[in-house]
C-alpha cells in the first residue's frame, strides 16, 4: 500500500502541535505501535520547531511537511526557505545550538536520529533547509 500527503502551514509555534497530530493521523493508517507513532511525533516536532525558530528566526514563513509511505516504510520531509545552515555536520552534534539564549538544548537533531531510522539534512545558507527522515514500522498482527 502506498500513500502521500503534503502539508503547508505558517511558521508559528501554535502549528507545532498541529503538525504532530496531522502526521500521526496519516501514519496511523499503517497501524503502528504507540511507541512508533510517538517517535515520529517527536522527530516531526523537532524538525518543524527548528524551521520556525532557526530557519525563520520566529519571523514570517511557511513550513512544508510531506509524508509518504510504501508498505511499512515511511518518509517524512520537512522543508523551510529560511536562513539555512552553513555547517551541517557541526549543527548535528549533540548539544550544539546557536540559540542558547532561548535555552535550546541542542538535542533536536540528536532526537531525530534517535527516534527515526535515517535522517539526512540538505541546506544552503539563505536558501533554506530540507530534513528527510525515514522509519520502517514493525510488522504487527492485524487487529481483529
Amino acid at each position: 500500500m502506498e500513500n502521500r500527503m503534503r502539508l503547508e502551514f505558517d511558521a508559528v509555534s501554535v502549528n507545532e502541535s498541529f503538525a504532530r497530530v496531522a502526521v500521526s493521523a496519516f501514519f496511523a493508517q499503517l497501524n503502528p505501535t504507540v511507541d512508533e507513532i510517538e517517535d515520529v511525533k517527536t522527530a516531526v516536532s523537532e524538525a518543524v520547531t527548528n524551521s520556525i525558530i532557526h530557519g525563520y528566526g520566529e519571523k514570517e514563513g511557511t513550513v512544508v511537511v510531506t509524508c509518504t509511505y510504501h508498505d511499512k516504510d515511511s518518509e517524512v520531509v520537512v522543508i523551510d526557505e529560511g536562513v539555512g545552515i552553513a555547517d551541517i555536520e557541526k549543527s548535528m552534534e549533540p548539544f550544539f545550538t546557536t540559540k542558547p539564549e532561548l535555552e535550546r538544548s541542542g538535542m533536536g537533531f540528536a532526537f531525530m536520529e534517535a527516534f527515526m531510522d535515517e535522517v539526512s539534512v540538505e541546506s544552503e545558507p539563505l536558501k533554506g533547509t530540507k530534513v528527510t527522515m525515514k522509519k520502517r514500522f514493525g510488522e504487527r498482527k492485524l487487529e481483529e
Partner: protein, 114 residues
C-alpha cells in the same frame, strides 16, 4: 494553559503541561522561575503526571531550571513520568541530571527522596 503549583515542606511541586514543546516553553520557563523566586524552596519537583508529549524544547526548559536552581543550592526531582517521558529522559541523558522519583516515593507521597 496555566500551570498548577503546590508548595509545602520546603518543596515546590510544579505540575508540567500535557504537551511540552517550544510553543509552551517560554511561558513555562517564566512561570517556574517566578514561582521559585517567590516561594523560597530548597527542593524543586517536576510532576509529569499530566504530560503526554515532550520534545527537546522541554529538555532545554528542565536543564535551564536545574542550572539556576542548583546555583542556589537546591535539589531537583522528576516524578510520575509515563513511559514516553521516561524514554525522553533516558535518550537525552536528562535522567543523569534529574533523579526520577521511585514508585515507593510516589505511593508514600514523599518525593524529596531524603
Amino acid at each position: 494553559m496555566r500551570q498548577s503549583y503546590q508548595c509545602k515542606n520546603g518543596q515546590l511541586i510544579v505540575e508540567m503541561p500535557k504537551e511540552i514543546d517550544h510553543h509552551c516553553a517560554k511561558e513555562l520557563r517564566e512561570d517556574i522561575d517566578r514561582m521559585i523566586e517567590i516561594s523560597h524552596v530548597r527542593v524543586l519537583v517536576f510532576d509529569f503526571s499530566q504530560t503526554e508529549f515532550m520534545d527537546s524544547s522541554g529538555i532545554g526548559v528542565l536543564i535551564g531550571r536545574c542550572r539556576n536552581f542548583g546555583y542556589s543550592g537546591g535539589s531537583v526531582q522528576a516524578v510520575h513520568l509515563n513511559d514516553r517521558v521516561k524514554k525522553i529522559f533516558m535518550v537525552s541523558g536528562l535522567s543523569k541530571l534529574i533523579p526520577i522519583g521511585t514508585e515507593q516515593e510516589r505511593a508514600g507521597g514523599r518525593v524529596d527522596g531524603e
